[in-house]
Subunit: 329 residues, 2 copies
DNA sequence: CTGTTAGCGCCTTCAA
DNA sequence: TTGAAGGCGCTAACAG
């Protein structure tokens, strides 16, 4: 068995309360005593028992993170930012996989709450979010990332989807491009809807008539990227430029072009959300909207930390993190 | 505050001990009592306090996972397999990022141990592993994944690197290809060394003289992939075929070929470890060695679970997980 | 500035 | 088959 406060107290010739105070940086302890206790702690290699501490304080110093998928650099890049920031204030992150499935999401939520997490950072799988209410009811604050949900309001950190879409496309409209295709993601997700909004707004601002034939909706997976792009290619008059709503659809679309053996000058120009490896070297893609994953994570952590220290009032806060247009040429 | 055993006991008209026994499936409790208690538990939505339980049992039902990098599908694919298996036996996974840095690895190790994890699954960052000894000393079993380390022996799950390399290259030797380049990873890592071993063994078996000029070592990152391949391209007589040791180096190498504007028939053929998106569509790559990430994770979890239930004896066990050659044509 | 003390919620002997 | 009771290690009143 490891050492306890009692051992430290005896060794240092003080009471357990004093040891506890040193541990928790109580300012009332004299420098001399603090030093003596610290020394014993070091010598013994003592570390407080997290269970006993948790039992007493009912705080686990642990935060749960719910990601729809592990093998997705966007989600895990965010997790990394979260973790980095949390670690600075002594919080540990437990990452769970909701597997893009609302049922699994609920299960994992329950699991994390049972484990006594102090807070939760969630990238929701679906549009329904009523189940997050139970966390709040238990006094566990929740921060939503990337997507909002119905029936539940909380602090949220979203990418600036509207402007990202707008800005990556605008140069082409200025150049006179008018026939623009749009490959959308699952419209039940905030991020997908907002990218579509940006597209529509841009068309309006530039008085481009809306052509429903050029707009196709998929599900953010690569298969839908290739399928929808092939639909656009089969039109009597294919678009000159196609906006693609995320990395995976971009991947699928690119694969389609490669497999059809189309050279860049035989295919529509592409612009897309997210970074895609090799896209810049392949010649199809003109520009990508890079989401600052790290910043998104840090901002989410920031919201949570402030809630955990009782700040923020009752109002859900919303942070928009600016994305960056990266040219591929 | 949530409900406690005491609340349940009162509601059910039994003692707290009985409730505890029901919770822990003690077989001595009568079916009638069990039923009654279960019912109250359900009604109240009671869940045992993990801290109190941990304090008592000194088991957290938590396992730590140390990955060198979050945004790497190989590592997180493994984590996913681990998590899936652990969840079946009621264990939760805490994933930490060692950031490809031995110092961070030590810090996180300490953090996880302080948090009271019951076991540890580690993809080591470097060849040194003495620090893992402290986990074992605390009675926390460790399973190594993908790489072995010096000064520390434990159960380990490794890909079948030698055979993977051998098998992906052999068809070409049978076709008479003799001039084969090799782009190696960091040779301090088991996985990188073993892939090189497979290469050397193959050359011997087929009596191909070893040409050091064709062999270059990098660090598993994309930059080294492009740099080393460009070195090979500059040789008076470049290789006909190049083996690349992992996904990221493959990515870098592919980018180089694209940026040089080399058509597949103007460049060496490639074969590589790991899956690379688009590689199959680009025409440079002949075959890839797919590592069964999910299985690797499950096997690692299996080792850990058996250690946690006291099995396995004193002998470190080694599992080799077969990889699969995927043709790109 | 420091010590004493009483639990936090649960499990587990010991008794019945 | 069940109940009573002590204590796991720590913190936070309350004293001094």
């Amino acid at each position: 068995m490891a050492f306890t406060v009692k051992d430290v107290a005896e060794q240092a010739g003080v009471s357990t309360a004093t040891v506890s105070r040193v541990l928790n940086k109580d300012p009332r302890i004299s420098a001399a005593t603090t030093g003596r206790v610290q020394k014993v702690i070091e010598e013994l290699g003592y570390a407080p028992n997290p269970f006993a501490r948790g039992l007493k304080t009912s705080r686990s110093l642990t935060v749960g993170f719910l990601a729809p998928e592990f093998t997705n650099d966007f989600f895990l890049g965010i997790a990394r930012g979260v973790e980095r920031r949390l670690q600075e204030v002594g919080l540990t992150l437990i990452i769970c996989n909701s597997n893009e499935d609302p049922q699994t999401e609920m299960d994992r939520l329950g699991l994390l709450l049972d484990r006594g997490v102090d807070g939760l950072i969630v990238i929701p799988t679906s549009a329904s979010g009523a189940h997050f209410g139970q966390a709040v009811k238990l006094g566990v604050p929740v921060v939503l990332v990337d997507r909002l949900v119905d029936d539940f309001h909380a602090d949220a950190v979203l990418a600036d989807n509207v402007n990202g879409t707008y800005q990556v496309l605008e140069p082409f409209l200025l150049q006179g491009v008018r026939r623009i295709g749009f490959l959308g993601g699952d419209q039940r997700l905030t991020s997908a809807r907002e990218r579509y909004d940006g597209f529509r707004r841009l068309l309006e601002d530039y008085h481009v008539p809306f052509d429903p034939e050029l707009v196709r909706f998929g599900d953010f997976h690569d298969e839908s990227g290739s399928r929808l792009l092939s639909q656009l290619l089969e039109l009597p008059e294919p678009p000159q430029l196609v906006f693609i709503s995320n990395r995976f659809m971009h991947l699928g679309a690119t694969r389609l072009l490669l497999e059809r053996g189309l050279k860049p000058d035989q295919a529509p120009r592409l612009v897309a959300f997210d970074d895609l490896d090799l896209a810049a070297s392949l010649g199809y893609c003109e520009a990508m909207v890079r989401q600052p994953v790290h910043e998104i994570g840090v901002q989410a952590a920031e919201f949570l930390i402030s809630r955990l220290s009782g700040e923020g009032g009752g109002e859900p806060r919303l942070a928009r993190v600016k994305s960056q247009v990266v040219s591929c040429v």
